[in-house]
């Protein structure tokens, strides 16, 4: 399925992408499996998405946890813990 991924702040700088459209393999259907999938892109990706760093995820602008399901057409965002206010 096709989804859109957005990266913010420290994550965006580390992967050097702000957004991408991606076609996911059939076995990638949750946040955690997407993280594992992205980890395989190289060292900078692995460092971010291997679970040692806190990387928050949102699906369609709502904060979700690692077990959240991803569906075709979703907008998935990855970002570090927020620091506004």
């Amino acid at each position: 399925m096709n989804i859109k991924i957005l990266y913010f702040a420290r994550i965006k700088e580390a992967v050097n992408y702000s957004t991408e459209d991606i076609n996911l393999p059939a076995d990638v259907s949750t946040v955690i499996t997407l993280k594992n999938h992205l980890s395989q892109r190289g060292e900078n990706w692995a460092n971010l998405f291997n679970g040692k760093q806190v990387v928050r995820a949102a699906i369609n602008h709502t904060l979700v946890d690692d077990l959240a399901k991803i569906q075709a057409g979703d907008e998935v965002a990855f970002f570090p813990p927020v620091t506004g206010g």
């Binding site: 913010f8 970002f79 570090p80 813990p81 620091t83 506004g84």
Partner: protein
């Protein structure tokens, strides 16, 4: 948020956050606020709705700046009106605690040593967690 002409308002509590000139011991040249616009909109509406559900408030207003700011610039304004002061105080503090931990903003500081992303604070998570307990704050 209307204040003028609203005779039922007895209390107006406001919070202004300002860029400090020092953080972690280093002089701050600039502070850049990045955000995720569509999610920000949704998060702020959700935070205000939660505040309105929990307290008897008349209205609330959140203004959060983004982009490059300098020390002493205002970052955020939260204002809450209510009939009685407790509701406005608690709702304003609640909104700030949730803004700090649930709204998608990220701060990057420029100091003389270079750029650095501001780390999330455990104390902000603790401040937010207070509102879950039956702690007498509500």
């Amino acid at each position: 948020m209307r204040v003028a002409g609203q005779g039922n308002i007895g209390a107006i509590v406001s919070f202004v956050g300002q860029v400090r000139d020092l953080n972690e011991g280093d002089a701050i040249n600039t502070l850049t606020l990045e955000h995720y616009p569509e999610m920000t909109e949704k998060a702020l509406v959700e935070i205000e709705n939660q505040a309105k559900t929990r307290w008897n408030i008349i209205d609330s207003l959140i203004i959060h700046r983004v982009g490059i700011l300098k020390p002493q610039d205002q970052i955020v304004l939260v204002a809450v009106t209510s009939a009685h002061r407790g509701d406005a105080f608690h709702a304003c503090e609640f909104i700030m605690d949730y803004l700090k931990t649930s709204a998608p903003f990220w701060k990057k500081e420029v100091t003389n040593q270079g750029e650095r992303w501001v780390e999330a604070k455990l104390s902000d998570d603790a401040a937010k967690a207070r509102w879950h307990k039956s702690s007498g704050l509500k």
